[in-house]
């Protein structure tokens, strides 16, 4: 892709300085998003996905949080150096965000119309009547039936899926270039999830915007993303396009994640879960942070942390032992053929 980058995050690091010590929530993350594409960011809870997105929005609570280093280049401007005043002009206007919980992300004391109008009134030079009309148009676009009626209803009168649609309407009301969706479907049931994802995909083309989709659900990633960044303990461990990732994962963590998805066509007694859990961010292991859970870990992994490197064109991995994973994969394949 030779198009111009919409947002270019370079070596971003966000730390939280707490009384117990420094939490390196995001530690040297680099990625870019091109106009009109969807970047999936996937990882377990606490791996720094949400902190990355909040850093882009500059919504990290400070103190204790602080962007320690790195650049976020958006429209030729480094957002890490912008003032809060400038950021307020960008938030909701150029970069919008959808949050995880549609139940709590709407203010219970205002009608949904009031809340969609809020962004319009902040960023556009329109009067209340025009703003209301735009709010109704937005509700129509996100597929809410009877928008003239719904616009005057309160959040508690809507279902979870409806509320998430309202959240999307709010986020898109000022025609942003980038939409950050922080686990937008996690709180919804599966049929609604599919509808919302489809809606977002449709709106992406309609509005010509880019989406940064944050999720822990590999299924969601497969459905909507063009490229994927897999995060583990504050770092990107694998970064490539979605087909390559699913066909040929190169990092043991990604490989482990793939194995822990239940498949309907495979009849297994037990899912292969990744042993252990994400290490305590106050006390990361030395060397590669995945070494405590990795089946291929060697002494080298326990001493030196691998940097992310391009091993094939457009496929970046941070691992010392890509070859060992290949061996394991080959073994697995043989086993399957025997059966």
């Amino acid at each position: 892709m030779s198009k111009e980058k919409l947002i270019d995050v370079k070596n971003l690091a966000t730390y939280f300085h707490t009384e117990e010590g420094t939490v390196k929530a995001v530690d040297g993350v680099s990625f870019e998003i091109y106009p009109g594409e969807t970047l999936g960011v996937v990882g377990e809870s606490g791996c720094g996905k949400s902190v990355t997105s909040l850093s882009i929005m500059r919504l990290i609570e400070s103190p204790p949080g602080k962007i320690e280093r790195g650049e976020i280049i958006f429209n030729n401007k480094d957002l890490t150096k912008s003032t809060q005043k400038d950021m307020r002009k960008i938030r909701g206007n150029d970069i919008s965000m959808i949050f995880q919980e549609p139940m709590t992300s709407l203010n219970p004391v205002y009608t949904v119309g009031d809340q969609i109008m809020e962004a319009i009134l902040i960023h556009k030079d329109v009067n209340k009547k025009q703003a209301r009309q735009e709010a109704i148009d937005m509700l129509t676009k996100v597929g809410i039936p009877l928008p003239e009626q719904r616009v005057d209803e309160y959040p508690h009168q809507l279902s979870g899926g409806m509320r998430q649609r309202v959240m999307i309407a709010m986020a898109l009301s000022c025609d942003p270039q980038l939409l950050i969706a922080d686990e937008p479907t996690t709180a919804l049931d599966v049929t609604i999830q599919a509808q919302i994802l489809e809606l977002m995909n449709g709106l992406k083309d309609q509005f010509g915007m880019a989406i940064m989709m944050i999720t822990h659900d590999l299924g969601v990633i497969a459905e909507v993303s063009d490229r994927v960044a897999v995060m583990y303990a504050g770092k990107i461990v694998e970064y490539t396009d979605v087909e390559t990732l699913y066909a040929n994962p190169k990092h043991p963590y990604t490989w482990g994640l793939m194995h822990s998805i239940p498949h309907i066509e495979k009849d297994v007694d037990r899912l292969q879960a990744i042993p252990g859990s994400v290490p305590n961010p106050l006390d990361f292991p030395q060397g590669c942070k995945y070494n405590t859970r990795c089946p291929f870990a060697t002494d080298k992994c326990r001493e030196i942390e691998p940097e992310i490197e391009e091993i094939e064109e457009g496929h970046q991995v941070a691992c010392w032992h890509v070859d060992k994973l290949e061996e394991a994969k080959a073994k697995e394949k043989k086993k399957k053929e025997k059966k």
Binding site: M57, L59, P63, R88, K89, I90, R91, G92, N93, S96, M97, F99, Q100, E101, T104, S105, L106, N107, P108, V109, Y110, E118, A119, I122, H123, M167, M170, A171
Partner: protein
């Protein structure tokens, strides 16, 4: 919940309806005071007219339907105009102290950190002084008079609201819709006014309604103790202080001067009761935890 809904429920609730009825009764009395008890001097209507200089109170008669108090102050006149005083003291003191409390509590809760620490330590300093003693001392320093009583009551009356508001704001601040509003590009003032205050105001309103009664009692106590309204000013607390020497009546007739203490006492009691009833009903309506 919307305001109309709350009002409807307040009216439907018998207890709060009773409270509202008493409040309305006192409001009517206050408004029609110039007709119910025409003042002798229209420029200074709050001074209770005296029907003589004798010390001993006189029982109700045709001229003075509630009788006269010590020094022949007309009790009926004092009750009628005293209602105005009660509303004035209550509304001004509760209004201003609540506003101060909301301001300090909101700023402390919303911004947190050093600002929170400074504001809350100031609040603690004020809270550490015994309320009534502090109010008496400040009124004495400022000089006798109702205005100074109000200043003293405001000075030492905002801390509860500030703490209540702070805890409410801390709770609301963690809600995602605050972050969502920030992500839409709203500035702090907009977020505080639109999203924080409206979601936190109800407990403060309940608290203010409850305090309306107690503030009037405190103002009355100050008057009773002699640091409040000037002698002869239409104020319920002062009217009870007039009856101080006559509560026990004379030998063999303990209830001889019942009217001097009972009538102003009833006025204060009902005034307080009404605000408390409304406040209670308010809380019942707005607190979902109590709704079963």
């Amino acid at each position: 919940m919307e305001w109309q809904e709350v009002l409807l429920k307040l009216i439907k609730n018998k207890i709060s309806l009773f409270g509202i009825g008493i409040i309305i009764f006192f409001v009517i009395i206050s408004i029609s005071a110039p007709w119910l008890a025409p003042p002798a001097d229209p420029d200074d209507p709050y001074m209770i007219p005296r029907a003589g200089w004798s010390i001993q109170p006189k029982p109700p008669s045709e001229d003075h339907i509630f009788g006269t108090s010590e020094g022949q102050y007309d009790i009926f006149y004092g009750i009628i105009w005293g209602a105005r005083t009660a509303f004035r003291v209550g509304l001004i003191v509760v209004g201003i102290s609540t506003l101060i409390g909301i301001l300090i509590g909101t700023i402390a809760g919303f911004y947190g950190g050093v600002i929170d620490e400074i504001l809350m330590r100031i609040t603690d300093v004020f809270l550490s002084m015994p309320f009534l003693v502090a109010a008496i001392v400040l009124t004495t320093i400022l000089g006798k008079g109702l205005d100074n009583v109000m200043i003293a009551l405001v000075t030492f009356g905002w801390m509860g609201t500030a703490r209540l508001m702070r805890s409410q704001v801390l709770e609301i601040k963690a809600e995602e819709f605050i972050q969502a509003a920030e992500a839409l590009g709203a500035n702090d003032i907009r977020i505080i006014m639109k999203h924080v205050i409206l979601n936190t105001i109800f407990p403060v309103v309940i608290n203010a309604s409850m305090r309306m009664g107690s503030i009037v009692i405190t103002a009355s106590s100050l008057s009773f103790l002699g640091v409040g309204a000037p002698t002869g000013y239409a104020d319920w607390g002062q009217m009870i202080s007039f009856s101080r020497n006559w509560i026990l009546g004379s030998q063999g007739n303990a209830l001889q001067f019942w009217y001097t203490v009972l009538i102003p006492g009833l006025a204060i009691t009902f005034f307080c009761l009404s605000w408390n009833l409304v406040g209670d009903a308010f809380r019942d309506i707005l607190d979902p935890k109590l709704q079963n």
